[in-house]
């Protein structure tokens, strides 16, 4: 009997190899890419089923939450993370801020012809580490390849499913006048890490992205029994955009205190240099929480006790306002609006 030959004569060349159109053709090259890269790093019992879709057990009681997020960040690798872990954190957080326990992820890759396989491997490994740390497996996926010049390296879309236990109500529609607004930490870290990298600002201690999965912190907050009304992660458009969204959804206004906003000195300096406002710069590991007034101090101490909420702060209050304006008392002593972002402050940030 002759020995069974190995399924592929040559393994993927992760040192010098590049993505080519065959990797997205549905043929043997694609099967090899999936086996040696995606399945190898992300593998789990559901992904291993190898069918067109993953067949998953029904979660217990409660309601399903589903969220999706496309990631087009440039550069792909930045201080504190890369597009791989970012694509896991982004979707896990979108599911978690609805009060849900994230269960599964799906991932779609759009690869550009010529993209180094070694870089792709780094990205997939980083995704695998993030997914396993978060305890949320990638259960199904897809890969497409576009011609050189028609993409920008890698785009990743992830979709997440989670389940909210009965009785838990979190929504941007639930803010009421008198409620208190908190953030879980410093603002603008992710956006400025990307910008500093893009503009080669070369700070002595680089600004590091805050990209992180927040479902652990959120579970702690919910378990503490405080009267939480709204949770949201202020990603693109930053805190200002998130608060304007909530104000509009809930039909209320907000009044912030500029002095109370936590911003790292390096982020502040970089913003100053580039003419940006940290209120509008993206975060990838921060929460905005709105709760009833009497629970604010307790919520703050619970946040601060968690490793991802050490720099948490109370930053303002929900007020009655038919115009749904978000306003701020400036550190200077005046008052101004914190409006919706107009135009694009920072393209391709996540």
């Amino acid at each position: 009997m002759s020995e069974t030959r190995k399924p592929y004569i040559r393994p993927l060349d992760l040192k010098h190899g590049q993505v080519d159109l065959a990797h997205g053709s549905g043929g043997r090259a694609m099967a090899q890419l999936i086996d040696e890269l995606f399945a190898r790093h992300l593998g789990n019992e559901y992904l291993g089923q190898g069918d067109d879709g993953a067949v998953l057990p029904l979660p217990g009681e409660g309601r399903l939450v589903m969220a999706t997020d496309a990631h087009v960040v440039s550069p792909l690798f930045f201080p504190g993370g890369d597009i791989g872990c970012l694509s896991v954190h982004g979707t896990v957080n979108d599911v978690a801020v609805m009060g849900a326990r994230p269960l599964y992820l799906a991932a779609s890759f759009i690869l550009e012809e010529g993209f180094p396989l070694g870089d792709l491997a780094r990205i997939v490994q980083s995704m695998a580490v993030a997914a396993s740390a978060a305890g949320v497996p990638v259960v199904t996926g897809d890969t497409k390849v576009v011609e050189r010049g028609k993409g920008d390296g890698v785009f990743i879309t992830t979709t997440g499913v989670g389940v909210v236990p009965p009785g838990r109500e979190l929504s941007g529609r639930r803010a009421r006048p008198g409620d208190v607004i908190l953030v879980s930490g410093t603002l603008g870290d992710h956006g400025m890490a990307i910008m500093a990298e893009r503009e080669s600002l070369g700070f002595e201690s680089p600004i590091v992205s805050d990209t992180a999965a927040l479902h652990g912190l959120i579970e702690t907050l919910l378990a503490s029994g405080v009267d939480l009304r709204v949770l949201r992660d202020p990603t693109r458009g930053g805190l200002a955009t998130t608060l304007n969204e909530i104000a509009r959804q809930s039909g209320v206004g907000m009044m912030l205190q500029e002095k109370a906003l936590p911003v790292k000195p390096a982020v502040n300096a970089a913003c100053e240099l580039l003419g940006l406002d940290p209120l509008y710069v993206a975060n990838e590991g921060k929460l905005v929480a709105i709760c009833g007034e009497k629970d604010a101090e307790m919520l703050l101490s619970v946040m601060r006790a968690h490793p991802l909420g050490q720099a948490a702060a109370i930053i303002g209050q929900v007020v009655a306002d038919d115009h749904h304006f978000v306003q701020m008392t400036t550190a200077f002593g005046g008052r101004r609006m914190v409006d919706w972002l107009s135009g694009e402050q920072l393209p391709r940030i996540c």
Binding site: H323, F332, S342, G343
Partner: protein, 374 residues
């Protein structure tokens, strides 16, 4: 941030505010024009007017480079990109300025124009070096602050012998705009724009110095206080202006002495004089055609002049009928006096140029201050 936070200190602001309240004569009104968009932005962003007594009013001036750019100039840039197929480089603020036929540079880019946002004129030169088969045009706008970098770019292109780099020069001059306002019938004859003094430019003055304003102080009896762009600079300048008015003085004073002296940056001035000369006349948005108010590229550098290299003649285009940018730039109207402010004209869909740049009076009021109107 060291050397920044000191100029944004709320406690010091309260002290200056108290002394302004004490010194301002309650029996009269004070109207000061902050010439620069940088001051307009600082006043709105930090809420400076909330710290001033009701009888001290700030009037927004025309010192926003994007705001004074007439439609015809943006049209020229768009034609260069769409008809001549050049790579057009410009500062980000210019991209959304409304032009003819519902276009803007941003919309022209979506139609296939090769339009790039650059942070400096040097980026445009680099782009020309890297793409020798493309004609690269730098759309140069701005007051005296941005003029020296354009001069450097042209000299650099000459030294490199670049045959594919040119400049569409729309640089304008601050003193001409100030004269135009002081000579306007609203200020001089009718008195509909009461003007008791100017908060003078910060960055522009680092280049031209404080001397050019002496004429205005003497000839028109208007005090000028040159001020930095931080909110405490503005507060301090207002206090100095109130003192001058109270004492019947009309002098040029310098609050921004950490960066400005009487003569300015002589090296930059020499560079500008070497590369540019006066245009006999130039159209401004809102201020009409002003004599000797802008610069063009000298004959010795003619090969880098986009208006000579390409056939793009300037044609004057009237503003949108309902748009009050002109009156707002002259201090005759406030943004909220314009019928289309905040309704038809918003930062997302600007009709007039003052709604585009963050330094524009309309954009600043819309973004930071419109809660006061409701």
């Amino acid at each position: 941030m060291k050397y920044i936070d000191e100029f944004r200190d709320g406690e010091v602001a309260q002290k200056i505010a108290a002394s302004i309240r004490a010194e301002a004569d309650p029996a009269r009104n004070y109207h000061f024009m902050e010439f620069c968009g940088g001051h307009t932005h600082a006043i709105s962003r930090y809420g400076v007017s909330d710290l001033l007594p009701a009888n001290v009013r700030m009037i927004h001036g025309p010192g926003c480079p994007v705001c004074v750019l007439p439609i015809g100039r943006v049209d020229q840039a768009i034609r260069l990109a769409l008809d001549e197929g050049v790579t057009l480089c410009t500062y980000g603020d210019c991209l959304r300025v409304p032009a003819s036929d519902g276009l803007s540079l941003l919309k022209a880019k979506a139609r296939g124009g090769d339009i790039r946002m650059v942070y400096s004129s040097a980026d445009a030169v680099t782009l020309a070096q890297k793409n020798p088969d493309k004609q690269v045009v730098f759309f140069a706008i701005g007051f005296e602050t941005t003029t020296p970098p354009t001069a450097v770019a042209i000299k650099q292109a000459a030294a490199l012998g670049l045959k594919n780099f040119s400049v569409l020069c729309c640089h304008v001059l601050t003193p001409s705009a100030i004269s135009s306002i002081l000579e306007s019938p609203e200020v001089r004859q009718w008195g509909t724009v009461p003007l008791d003094g100017f908060v003078g430019p910060a960055h522009v003055s680092t280049i031209i110095g404080s001397r050019p304003y002496e004429f205005f102080a003497e000839e028109y009896r208007k005090p000028v206080v040159i001020a930095g762009f931080e909110p405490l600079d503005v507060m301090q300048a207002i206090r100095m202006l109130i003192r001058q008015v109270n004492e019947g003085r009309a002098e040029v004073e310098n609050e921004f002495s950490r960066a400005v002296d009487r003569d300015g940056n002589l090296k930059a001035q020499a560079l500008v004089a070497e590369v540019f000369e006066m245009r006999k006349h130039f159209e401004w948005r809102g201020l009409n055609v002003l004599p000797y108010s802008a610069l063009r590229i000298r004959g010795t550098f003619a090969e880098f002049d986009a208006e000579k290299r390409f056939f793009v003649r300037y044609a004057s285009v009237p503003d949108h009928k309902a748009c009050e940018c002109g009156a707002i730039l002259r201090g005759v109207k406030r943004p909220q006096d314009c019928k289309i402010f905040g309704t038809v004209c918003t930062p997302e869909n600007p009709v007039g140029s003052c709604m585009v740049s963050s330094e524009g009076a309309c954009a600043a009021h819309y973004t930071y201050g419109r809660y006061k109107d409701v």
